[in-house]
């Protein structure tokens, strides 16, 4: 009786897995887990009010795409070279792809227009080290 129950259980289990294939829990070895990415923003702002409107607009977009701010408006010290009035902001993303998805999204491409005449900007993406 016990053995029959076990047999039914096994049949049931194999039947279920045949009907609804369960994806393997462990990703294949060849597929590397994406490394988090950093977005480095260097900004020289000459219209602070206009720039504030931009930052207010993008905060929810950044959050929606999984970005978090690491550096913003903190104490700073120039150690070498000319940084002038350049402000630095760093945001962190789950992956390079996540950061690209944010940057090239219609929402962000719409919002970025708000900062067009507020200053000059340099932005680069960096994959983090393992």
């Amino acid at each position: 009786m016990k053995r029959l129950f076990l047999l039914l259980l096994l049949l049931g289990a194999s039947g279920a897995s045949a009907l609804s294939p369960v994806p393997p829990k462990v990703p294949p070895q060849t597929e590397a887990t994406p490394r988090p990415a950093l977005m480095l923003i260097e900004a020289d702002i000459h219209d602070m009010d206009g720039f504030r409107a931009y930052t207010q607009a993008i905060i929810p977009i950044v959050q929606r795409f999984g970005g978090t701010y690491v550096v913003m408006r903190g104490e700073r010290q120039d150690l070498e070279g000319d940084w002038g009035t350049t402000r630095v902001v760093i945001s962190r993303w789950p992956s390079m792809d996540a950061a690209r998805a944010f940057w090239f999204s219609p929402e962000y491409q719409q919002a970025i227009k708000l900062r067009a005449d507020t200053g000059t900007f340099r932005v680069t993406l960096l994959e983090t080290a393992p």
């Binding site: 480095l40 260097e42 690491v70 550096v71 070498e80 000319d82 960096l126 994959e127």
Partner: protein
């Protein structure tokens, strides 16, 4: 509060710069710094990044990074990169209360 050191380098003499690139990471580690981005993929999104290499390291706080930067050991290592390119280095305080490590 963690602090971040951002180095923007334009290397003009890579063979000579390599001596610095080998000597510096152990020193960074000894002073408690951790590289977040070094020799990893980069993708410029806006502005001119032509020829620029960016390195970002994370430190326990601003003072920890300053102890490294102003140490006699780093002064000696830093001489290895003299004349190998142009460098801009900035130290900034982070927002998070925890490090990214």
């Amino acid at each position: 509060m963690p602090a971040y050191m951002i180095v923007e380098a334009r290397i003009t003499d890579l063979p000579r710069f390599r001596a610095y690139a080998e000597a510096n990471p152990p020193l960074v580690a000894r002073f408690g710094g951790r590289y977040l981005a070094i020799r990893t993929a980069t993708e410029p999104l806006e502005g001119d990044w032509e020829g620029a290499k960016v390195v970002i390291s994370e430190w326990r706080d601003m003072d920890a990074a300053r102890r490294y930067w102003h140490s006699p050991e780093y002064a000696a290592v830093k001489r290895l990169r003299e004349g190998t390119g142009t460098f801009r280095v900035l130290l900034v305080d982070g927002l998070a209360t925890e490090t990214l490590a």
